[in-house]
Symmetry: C2
Subunit: 150 residues, 2 copies
Amino acid sequence: MTTPEGEFRRDESLGYVVNLLGRLFARALDQRLRRHGVALGQFPVLLILWEQEGITQSEIARRLDIEQPTVANTLKRMERDGLVSFGPDPGNRRQVLVGLSEKGRALRAPLIAEAEAVNGQASQDFSAAERALFIALLRRMAANLSEFSE
Amino acid sequence: MTTPEGEFRRDESLGYVVNLLGRLFARALDQRLRRHGVALGQFPVLLILWEQEGITQSEIARRLDIEQPTVANTLKRMERDGLVSFGPDPGNRRQVLVGLSEKGRALRAPLIAEAEAVNGQASQDFSAAERALFIALLRRMAANLSEFSE
DNA sequence: TGCTGTACTATAGCTTGCTATGTTGTTTCG
DNA sequence: CGAAACAACATAGCAAGCTATAGTACAGCA
């Protein structure tokens, strides 16, 4: 399944097309989140905190599969924007527990609605079966790429 | 197809999963390109220039669906790294034509091999039909998101 | 011709991702 | 107990995406 002659068609390259679609999703969601004063990268962190507050920075990084310094910087901007606050863990002085502000909690329903609107637009002509199939293929591919790098 | 109760499952969200897969592709390809001294974002630009040299910055941006300032900055780094050179267009003094260095041309085969290796790993257990179906779904979704923003 | 609009490039500034490295606290084990 | 390993967080520095804006050259038209 290698390409015949040093040729390489961008439009047939999995990585290229996935990356392009990813940027389209990012642009669409970013525009909508900005209306609420929230930046794109803050949204996944909010998703985690809406599930569970009082976890550590590294736990957030682990659940999102993002590096710890990236999360640290995003949290710092979220604190600046009044979305989260940090409290020391009395039982463990090296870690810091992250909590939501009221503002952060209140954004849950409206921001999730924005994300669902984007997902809805993206899959507007997909049947439920197609959508499920698509997610399954995405996940298989992600699993393939997560295997030890070689 | 909206979610029942303010719930939002990351693992079922199209945007979330596409974004995650995109980062996995990016990490995998970045690691491989680094061995050749090339940064990830330079690769799409190289793909364009391998097809056709002597085009303008904005033409590159248009073909890749990336904003012009992003391309401008990437090209600046590529010049620094000795991959491209700029020549003024004698017939049009406002634009600049981008050309490849010998080094840039020579990287074609090895870098395409790296990209194909990543694509191959990602789709290692996919049949040709599945791969084609997957690409078709990605493209439909991209078309849906490209429709005028609302 | 000259003015207006458009196209190309550049610059500033932000966010979010990454790696690499350092600091500090906790755990483990000899 | 003390040393070594490990875990959490911070910081520095880079790449690449974005928006907004400004400057310059060209084109089209009154």
